[in-house]
């Protein structure tokens, strides 16, 4: 019976989606806001990557809220998983391939992650993508050697400092009468590494925060799995 109602629901959903699809105007709509940003962002923000201008310049407050969502998810994950039992034995060390691979990839992933974070205002990428790569870099050794867990205190310290520095950089614009998170500092030469004012600093904070948060969450998942 339940299967029948589910199938009926899906049939209705399919008809609904097909109707939306049929009546939709597939012709490309002109992105008014997007074109305006593309025309003005190079002068206003000074980042060669306009997506970064949008993420940190035009809607930096939304990005702060999204970091808050990520923080809430990580905190809730930690609450749900709880502390692993103290008497639990960690998994044995992984085989040679994983251990050698983890040793080999750790510095490479670190360099790639930091490169992507630092060049977020010039090339595709940025704090979110580079942060995920950093998280993988710190999680891989944990997969190879579960006996030596990463320091949760250091991870939460980095996370807290990164989040605080994002807010502090945002607040620094306010004494001069500008809005919260207004890009500061000199815009510099478009396309050079030291350009776009305070945007690279914000992206470093985002990268460290995302990286430490995801690494901590993955480590906690792995520890919980090992404890039973």
């Amino acid at each position: 019976m339940q299967r029948f109602t589910s199938a009926l629901f899906l049939l209705g959903l399919g008809v609904l989606i097909a109707a939306i699809f049929r009546n939709m105007d597939l012709a490309a709509s002109t992105p008014i806001v997007g074109d305006a940003i593309n025309a003005a962002a190079a002068q206003q923000v000074g980042a060669a990557n306009f997506v970064t201008s949008v993420v940190l310049g035009y809607r930096g407050f939304d990005t702060l809220m999204e970091l808050t969502i990520l923080f809430t998810a990580a905190t809730a994950g930690g609450l749900v998983l709880g502390k692993p039992r103290g008497d639990a034995r960690p998994d044995p060390e992984a085989g040679l391939v994983l251990r050698a691979g983890a040793d080999l990839f750790f510095p490479l992933l670190l360099v790639v992650g930091l490169y992507i974070i630092l060049h977020g205002h010039l090339t595709p990428g940025g704090g979110f993508q580079g942060g995920v790569i950093l998280a993988v870099a710190f999680f891989l050794p944990l997969l190879a050697r579960p006996g030596t867990p990463m320091s949760h205190r250091a991870v939460s310290l980095i996370e807290g400092l990164a989040g605080a520095s994002f807010i502090v950089i945002g607040l620094l614009a306010m004494p001069e009468g500008q809005a919260f998170l207004t890009p500061l500092l000199d815009k510099g030469q478009l396309g050079s590494l030291l350009s776009a004012g305070s945007l690279p600093l914000l992206y470093i904070a985002v990268g460290l925060k995302v990286g430490s948060e995801l690494a901590g969450l993955l480590a906690q998942l792995a520890a919980t799995e090992a404890s039973d």
Partner: protein, 148 residues
């Protein structure tokens, strides 16, 4: 066929498959993965809202401004949505891990029976035993790895 029709079909298809997976799956982990598919479809739909054929990425390389640039606003939205999606998947998986620890099953039918039992128990309702009790509920099958 037009490229944009294929792209829209992909986006709507992912959304439909995701919702179908949520409705039809009985295994909790499969439902979580279906949420991931639904999310991918929603992100693709968001990107397609201002998609233009032949537009280049909105990045200035070497001082050259491309003639036709893609809209950066949906890209920025999707960029953060993907990361949030990862966080939400991790949270959902850790909740599923807790369910597995507590009840030893991830089968939605078994979980529903346990939930109803616990709610009845907390409310002080006796399990139906009298002659005019409703028809016996279908018993949940034993824990089956990767139930359909």
């Amino acid at each position: 066929m037009d490229t944009i029709i294929i792209l829209y079909t992909g986006a709507f298809g992912l959304i439909f498959i995701g919702i179908a997976g949520i409705v039809l799956s009985r295994h909790l982990v499969r439902i979580i993965f279906a949420i991931g598919l639904l999310e991918a479809g929603a992100n693709l739909l968001l990107l397609l809202a201002t998609w233009r054929d032949g537009a280049s990425a909105p990045i200035i390389v070497g001082g050259r401004v491309p003639a036709l640039m893609a809209d950066p606003v949906p890209q920025a939205l999707v960029l953060t949505a993907i990361v949030i999606g990862v966080g939400i998947l991790a949270l959902a998986l850790s909740l599923a891990l807790r369910v597995q620890h507590a009840w030893g099953t991830l089968d939605m039918r078994a979980i529903r029976l346990r939930l109803e039992e616990e709610i009845d128990d907390a409310a002080g309702i006796e399990p139906p035993t009298s002659a005019d009790a409703p028809a016996p509920r279908p018993t949940a099958p034993a824990t089956r790895e990767g139930g359909a």
